[in-house]
Amino acid sequence: VKGIVRNEKNENIAGVSVTVTNAKTQFNAGVQTDSSGVFSFSNLPPGNGYSFTISSVGYESQTLSGYQLKPGATLSVIVKLKEVTAALNDVVVVGYGTSRRKDLTGAVASVKGKDLVTQGVNSVEKSLQGRLPGVAVESAGGDPGSGTRILIRGVGTLGNATPLYIVDGIPVASISNLLPGDIESIDVLKDASAAAIYGSRAANGVVLISTKTGKTGKTQINFAGNYGLQKIARTLDVLDAQQWAEVSNQAHDAAGLPRLDIAKNPEQLGKGTDWQKEIFRTAPVQSYEMNISGGSDQTKYSISGGYLDQQGIVKVTGYSRYNLRIRSETTKGKFKIGETVLLSKENWNRIPSSGGNPVGGAAKSIPVFEVYDPTALGGFSGAYGPVVNIINPVAQLNLIKTKNETNSVLLNLYAEYGITKDLKYKFNVGHTLASGTGYNYTQRYQVGALFSNPTNVLNESQDQSKMLLLENTLNYDKTFGRHKLQVLVGYTMQKNSYRFWSESNNNLPDGLDVQDAGSGTASVGGNRIESALLSQLGRIVYGYDNRFLFTGSFRRDGSSRFGKNNRYGNFPSLAAGWNLSEEKFFTPLSKVFDAFKLRVSYGELGNQEIADYAYIPTIASNANYAIGTDQHKWFGAIQQAFADPNIKWENTKTVDIGIDAALFNNKLNITADYFKKKSTDVLLNVPIPGSVGSVSNPVTNAGSIENHGVEVGASYTDRINKFKYTIGATASVIRNKVLSLGEGNQPIYGGQPTQNGASTTVTGVGGPVTAFKLIQTNGIFNSQEEVDNYLGKNGQKIQPNAAPGDIRFVDANGDGKIDDNDRVYCGSPFPKLEYGVNFAASWNNFDAAVVVQGMYGNSIYNAFRQELESMSYEFNYSTATLNAWTSNNHSNIPRAIISDPNVNDRTSARFLESGAYVRLKSLQLGYNFSPALLQRAHISSLRAYISCDNLFTITSYKGYNPDIGRTGSIFDRGVDFVFVSYPLPRVVSFGIQMSF
């Protein structure tokens, strides 16, 4: 058999795989085309039932079947392969249905599972970083099993800005437990038109994840395995023992305070303990997944399992995950029945939550202290004397065991009935169940002089989150000539419930860790939360002649989170699309443009992401007091906080104008959007004055915020002979502005950098959300004269406590003193530009993929540097303090003085740094073994690769990592507070992907 393979332009294609199989005789063989596109098989056994499969990257595969070979005869074939670059034909998942990208009227960003395969990361969310325009993915640190924060189109709200995640139609709280290899596609609904069908919870965007389905045909088995090593990318430069003692002595001498005993003889101390070295390690990570899929015309299935074991770069920490997934669909007559079953089990060995974060502790621990002391209870040494009480981080990691386990179940069962050919009814039952256990065991110890725990203490907890979703939808889909109409109506109900229990006991014998073993005082706790959502929804999509497209959707939601009068919210949207490229007048341009579409949409979305029952003032209990001759517990209960009974839906109105274009024979695809979104009645715990007497801030509809921005995504795919490549790029530019705030438009202060001290961010009307407003500095006083001459209007000293070597702060308001009123705008934690570039290429059997990602124009408040450079604390300092100001060394680091009377370490612009960075996020090199080589092992494809994550980051930021992963309150954004941090590792891994 001889053949030649050509493309649509009749050019011969080299390196195409051709396999021949005979189902009857179980024969199979494979070859590749030569440089002139020719392939040949010789000596094939005679017979009938031969089929040839021709496949190549960038082309649609073709199977030619039913060939008969007669003895001695030859056969020649000419194959024409079709290129698969027409991205606009891709199917995109939208809420309660799918659409061709060509027919979309909303802003939807998509990524296919196969494009994620070439990244070594083991969480779905992280793989999205830099991939989708307008979708910012921030790591929540490198803590194994840590989540991420996804922000779609900036911050439209001041509360919870997490998008709505939907997996196979079911809302879930998090997607970090998914197996990356299970992902068929991720579609992010960004504008109101696309997301409106999820009305009430869609204001932060919707992330739709579809898992893999089976395809008609031969059973396929895929296996992937990966093994890698992770290492900390960068440690902080802190002093060794001798250096520390010298700086400490200098600081005490300057303050006129006695030197610390442990610092008395610096020259005898040597290097001391390198605490960072003691807690970090090179940690292995491994993952395996297998997928079996296939099906007949009637039933298709896909079953997969996976295992991940990731040890953390901080000793003791780790994460492991087991996954099992079953998805199938059966069509019989008018019925279609299907399900998704997703099971996962996750285990975390966490950083201990008590005693401060050991990562911060390692940088701050004084190097004079030692790690181990075999004679001490527990075996560890530690701090003593009048120093800040930082526990030996190695002891903390080993003496306090903090573990969590979560078992998650996601079930989606559906039945569809075709009432007529065009009208279908679908009933969907969704259920999720997450059961978690928490375990915290603190063994008896004496660590140094400052930390003791005389008895073994065990705390355990359990929680359970349940969700039930019932959905009834009717779908009508009909094409009449040039008219295409789709109508959807639905009624849904969702119930959520959560339960929590905890128990603890102490005085456990060594080696036992069950509650019954404790002989101390047992204590228990527990609570329960319930919520519900009732919704009616509808959507009409109308297309005319492939030219004009209209979408109108509507959702009405009722939420238990609001009082009776404010329970329901209506969320309408309208959108139109115009395929200009289908118009006659476009013909002159059609040589360049294969497609060009203009989209316009407007819609309203809601947000109800507040705590349950927030509108009802409650009686807080267990505000107890001792009373009586025996001083017994007197149970106390009273209202401690205020509630706003009139809270209502937060509302976001979005206008979006976008284009989708394909150029140069579909080689270049561009999607660009401009949007403006205005959120009103923003739900927020607005800080109220302490003099009100409330222990917490009530949730109120606090104001309005506007975001507008431009986002562009482009990809270019081409080939130069055997070299095939794709370059993709995304960029987003988003600006936000606060239009109004609650009572009296009082600004909101946040981002307190350390446990003490002033806030760093101010969110005020007319400005951006969480603007950094800080006292500015203007060098260092080099002489007493300079201090004395730094005077206010009335001749008073602006900094009365200052001495030479102290920082000169700027009296911005000219009132002759330095205080919070001198804070000026210094930057924003939000980048001016976020971008990502990805590159994928193949040549013969080799392939490569690179993802670069970064941001520009943002600031980070380095709160950790504020501590390490302060020299007013009795802990270790940054090496920068070696250059502290002295009368002989006029540096830019203030003098060492332990009492710091000028408060040089106050919250100021001194610690604000540029957060811009460019990161080579992943680099992967792969090799595809040739089918001919593999056929004997009955393997149809085998790829081996080497992958590097976070290979390098270009940044001027001095902390561990500019992607600081600060979760929690939006007002703390951009503040790098190492008490909550875990550095991002660099990972090098090796893996294989195999199909049979």
Partner: protein
């Protein structure tokens, strides 16, 4: 599913509209108000509270560990000091709770007699919270009702005199209806004597000496039976709590749960960790505070009639005297890390081996009640009020009761006002060391600058008169209350 699906009732808590039905609810509300007094991070008699009220005295040193605390003690604190903010907020949380009792008592099924007592008790507590505010912050918002809408959240400061007027009113009304004593199950709640004592103290602090003397004098006679405890030291241990010398104590006990930081939870410890906070590291303490040598020397000024040091000196401090022991160890086995030459015994569990004294998991819990108002204070305040009112002669018996208990000879008769005041100041300094009065006494005597300057207190050079007489209004309050104004000089 029906529309009821959306009616979710919080299963964890009661709601305010269904509360206040009966006496149990009122009692629980009252407990929740007392709860704030030792509340772990913010209560006026919590560990932090004790540190804050003592930190600025010329007799007190705080080491540079908890930065905000150190800054307070060395007069470099700024308006964003979190510890001061917590103390400020705690007082207003208490006022909010007391106001709730006052506003809702009529909803509960109670006899008029009982109602009167609860009202009086709530007024006492509200007066106490305002007292703590006014002596620390000066002018403060006078919040005497519950805000009915969010616009009421903003409230301007009232002049100090108006706050004092409210304090007189609350203590006067409280004194009228509170019982002379509680016993058994309810020992430790506010009494008539506590209200009168605080009323007298309030008059004295605002220099209304005549009213102060009249009010305090009532406490020396029937129906009251207050007396000095023979052994001074009994006032600072957990063995003789709520004794005859005590007008009001914050009840602290190793009961409830094991955790100080548990907040509103059944696991909340009802003890504090103050003793552990002050103890040296050799006995499992945090050694956050130490007495200055000025205090040590003040004690040395006068010996007892038997030629020994004042028994109050032994009860208050440990220093290097022959046979001195501390936590059952010789004094010499302790490193004096502070540079000062003594350590506190008062309120420490120093007769045990170390401060790991509690029964629970976090076992450094102390159970020693904080004595808020002692009869010794009543006597010295009465002596002072009389002296300042020009009745120096009448002050002797009260002063001498205090001297006599310390085995000091009666104060020489025929002295003038200045000498009498000097003696009262001396007695107050040594009688109430570590009891949170020194800074406030110096302030009302106008001696802050002088006494700080002539002390060995760390940070004395940063004291700026007038400015540091008061704390600044917390920055968080300025940031959220648009009627708030910063204190003068800040």
């Amino acid at each position: 599913c029906s529309k009821d699906t959306l009616d979710k009732v919080n299963p964890n808590v009661l709601t305010s509209d269904t509360y206040w039905k009966n006496e149990t609810d009122v009692l629980q509300a009252m407990a929740a108000t007392y709860y704030l007094l030792p509340a772990y991070n913010s209560g006026y008699w919590s560990t932090r509270g004790v540190e804050v009220t003592n930190a600025r005295g010329d007799d007190f040193f705080i080491r540079n560990d908890v930065t905000d605390l150190y800054k307070i003690s060395t007069f470099i604190n700024t308006a964003d000091n979190a510890i001061v903010t917590n103390i400020f907020n705690n007082q207003y949380q208490g006022i909010f709770k007391a106001n709730q009792v006052l506003a809702n008592i009529d909803r509960a099924a109670l006899t008029d007699d009982k109602k009167k007592v609860y009202l009086a008790e709530a007024k006492f507590l509200r007066g106490l919270f305002f007292f703590n505010l006014v002596i620390n912050f000066g002018d403060v918002p006078l919040r005497i009702s519950i805000p009915s809408s969010s616009s009421d959240y903003n409230l301007a400061k009232s002049p100090e005199a108006d706050v004092w007027a409210q304090i007189y009113k609350d203590f006067t009304e409280a004194a009228a209806d509170l019982p002379v004593a509680w016993s058994g199950e309810w020992l430790g709640r506010a009494t008539k004597g506590a209200a009168l004592g605080y009323l007298g103290k309030a008059y004295l602090y605002s220099k209304d000496y005549a009213n102060a003397a009249t009010t305090l004098h009532q406490l020396t006679a029937s129906p009251f039976a207050y007396a000095l405890r023979k052994n001074y030291e009994d006032n600072f241990t957990d063995a003789f709590e709520n004794n005859e010398e005590s007008l009001f104590e914050v009840q602290i006990q190793d009961a409830g749960g094991p955790y100080f930081w548990a907040g509103n939870s059944s696991q909340l410890a009802l003890g504090t960790f103050t003793a552990q906070e002050f103890a040296p590291s050799e006995v499992a303490g945090w050694f956050e505070a130490a007495p200055t040598d000025k205090l040590l020397h003040e004690f040395e000024k006068e010996k007892t009639q038997s030629g020994d040091y004042d028994p109050r000196m032994y009860a208050t401090l440990v220093w290097d005297y022959p046979g001195a022991t501390y936590y059952n160890k010789p004094f010499k086995s302790f490193a004096l890390w502070s540079g000062f030459h003594s350590m506190f015994r008062k309120y420490q569990n120093w007769k045990k081996d170390n401060e790991l004294t509690g029964s629970n998991g976090s076992s450094f819990v102390t159970s020693i009640n904080e004595r808020v108002l002692r009869y010794a204070d009543v006597l010295l305040m009465l002596a002072e009020a009389l002296t300042m009112d020009g009745k120096v002669g009448e002050a002797y018996p009260y002063l001498n009761q205090v001297r006599n208990r310390a085995n000091l000879a009666p104060f020489p008769a025929g002295t003038d006002k200045d000498k009498m005041m000097a003696e009262i100041r001396h007695q107050r300094m040594i009688e109430f060391a570590r009891e949170g009065t020194r800074f406030y006494d110096l302030k009302r005597w106008g001696l802050l600058q002088q006494e700080l300057t002539n002390s060995d207190k760390v940070g004395r050079e940063f004291f700026i008169p007038k400015k540091y007489d008061y704390f600044p209004v917390p920055q968080a309050e300025i940031n959220t209350n648009h009627l708030a104004e910063q204190n003068p000089n800040w």
